[in-house]
């Protein structure tokens, strides 16, 4: 069984973000980078599937500058067999249509039986890439899955809808699924597996070899949101903070009435 999982490296969302000099994106210096949280679930699910069928070849693909190899190594240490690094120093300027085109161009003649992606990235969150890849490859696509089962070529998944309801959906492989948080429990790479991962193949492909389309979106401006007025910020010693908050709650709410 041939499996592809697509992974993105994103900044830690707890970071303090600044705008770059051009005002077109966030400043990438001084940021800590990690695996997109949604992709941790898709990497885990791809590995679980390979373990279930007992054989196969699992490729992790990621697009970005050289620094993404660190995160790709985590995916390899978790259990992916090989990595494909699409080298692109301007990945942040690509729109979802271009990113999906790059992945589809890579995957079109590889006959993957299953493709896993996160349902969105934590930084841009368009939620488009996985669906677009599936449509470009003419594959069935099930988005936002919180439950996945594979039985003899049939994918049975549950999509998460609003308000705690799930939709039960099935399709015949090859299928692309986009993974929602909570789908499984992503494993931590063990030290022996981290060592083993260093020997796994990590091929580099230049983005120019896979990109055949032009962007459809432009970002005239990126900015920090305005702070909501009226919000009070309390800082200081815990004891003082408690007194200040209790006073405020008495003045402005009826919870002690």
């Amino acid at each position: 069984m041939k499996i592809l999982v697509c992974m993105k490296q994103v900044p830690d969302m707890e970071s303090k973000f600044r705008i770059n000099d051009q005002g077109s994106w966030y400043d990438e210096s001084d940021l800590a980078w990690r695996m997109n949280e949604y992709d941790e679930y898709s990497v885990e699910q791809a590995i679980l599937l390979k373990e279930q069928v007992g054989e196969g070849d699992l490729t992790v693909l990621s697009i970005g500058p050289k620094r993404i190899q660190e995160t790709m190594k985590k995916a390899l240490a978790m259990g992916c067999d090989r990595g494909v690094h699409v080298n692109d120093v301007k990945v942040h300027e690509k729109d979802p249509f271009e990113i999906a085109s790059i992945i589809a161009e890579f995957a079109k003649d590889k006959n993957f039986d299953m493709i896993f992606t996160g349902m969105q990235s934590q930084d841009r969150g368009s939620g488009q890439v996985g669906v677009l890849v599936a449509e470009m490859l003419n594959l069935p696509c099930i988005t936002t899955i919180v439950d996945f089962a594979f039985d003899n070529g049939t994918v049975n998944a549950k999509r998460e809808l609003e308000g705690g309801v799930k939709a039960k959906v099935s399709a015949q492989a090859p299928v692309l699924v986009t993974c929602q948080l909570g789908l499984n429990s992503p494993r931590y790479p063990t030290l022996p597996n981290i060592m083993k991962a260093k020997k796994k193949e990590l091929a580099v492909v230049e983005v120019g070899d896979l990109l055949t389309v032009e962007s459809r979106l432009e970002t005239p401006k990126i900015s920090l949101p305005e702070k909501k007025s009226g919000g009070l910020i309390l800082e200081g010693e815990v004891g003082d903070l408690v007194e200040q908050l209790v006073t405020l709650l008495k003045e402005r709410t009826t919870v002690f009435a």
Binding site: Q122, T143, S223, V242
Partner: protein, 304 residues
């Protein structure tokens, strides 16, 4: 600007979020029409043409077929913009339609500024203005970002539509979340735990404060995903939507999905070590402190 609004149906009912689309279209101005896979039994209140496909025949979830039904309408109406909710239905269908149209898609729009659409980046820590380079475009709207000022009104002119596209996936029905548990929507005071509690044992700190305030405790998605709290405690778009008199968010950074579920609370207190956490955007008071120290101290003060 001519818009085509894609309404949603669930379990035989029109979803209220349909009116977010109407609010957005009226803010943009110009003509609009509506598309729905639903039925005559629950029609939107809207003055305009409703292209209606029968959900009994085509299913409430059937992306390849809904895409074809929609493309036929787009072909006839020639809208400049096709508008979806950024929902499990919308984010699934919109990219399929955009690709088939050769159009750009802008996801999770929260505002319109000088003709550019604004979307959140990095968990709403940044805002981004985006423009489509294509003549037509597809957009999805963040839940609650555009709302009607009054009650919806109007009468649709129904035009029935059909198609015979092939389905790539099979929809086997809905599964309700486990019954029972608490109805947080009725709670007057809620104290919620976020990822910042650090470990499951610390949920007790949150429960103690909830008890001292005679309220209920809730949780954000990561806490529920880690199985530190039951799903029926989850506040947010995929959990419960709440509007208590007091909401205390402890160690919750403020993901959009969480904020959408609690922003209508009357008074919001956030406890967070990060002064810039997005939860501060909706909080009436942001206490910059480590919840593991602050929350027990507050509980003790209230009990004493």
């Amino acid at each position: 600007m001519k818009t085509l609004l894609v309404a949603e149906y669930r379990d035989g009912r029109l979803l209220g979020s349909t009116y977010d689309l109407v609010a957005f279209a009226s803010q943009l101005g110009g003509e609009s029409a509506m598309f729905l896979v639903g039925s005559d039994s629950d029609l939107p209140q809207y003055d305009g043409t409703l292209y209606l496909a029968d959900s009994a025949k085509y299913g409430e979830f059937n992306p390849s077929v809904h895409k074809q039904l929609l493309l036929d309408v787009i072909d006839k109406e020639q809208p400049d913009m096709v508008v979806f909710n950024h929902s499990s239905y919308g984010w699934d269908l919109a990219p399929r339609v955009a690709l088939a149209m050769g159009a750009a898609q802008i996801s999770e729009v929260v505002d319109i500024v000088d003709g550019a659409l604004v979307t959140p980046v990095c968990n709403a820590k940044l805002r981004r203005e985006i423009k489509a380079k294509t003549a037509k475009c597809v957009v999805t709207l963040q839940a609650g970002a555009f709302t009607l000022s009054g009650e919806p009104s109007g009468t649709v002119a129904v035009e029935k539509i059909e198609c015979d596209a092939k389905s790539l996936v099979v929809f086997n029905g809905y599964e309700e979340s486990e019954a029972g548990g608490v109805d947080l929507s009725k709670a007057e005071i809620i104290v919620s735990a976020g990822r910042g509690i650090g470990k499951p044992e610390n949920l007790e700190i949150i429960r103690s404060l909830a008890k001292a305030l005679k309220g209920e405790y809730g949780a954000s998605r990561p806490v529920v995903d880690s199985e530190w709290a039951e799903h029926n405690r989850q506040v947010g778009t995929t959990g419960q939507t709440v509007s208590p008199k007091l909401y205390v968010a402890c160690g919750i950074s403020g993901a959009i999905q969480h904020i959408a579920g609690m922003k209508k609370s009357e008074f919001i207190v956030a406890v967070n070590t990060d002064r810039d956490a997005p939860i501060g955007e909706v909080a009436d008071v942001l206490v910059v402190a480590d919840l593991k120290q602050f929350v027990p101290a507050l509980t003790e003060r209230l009990a004493g």
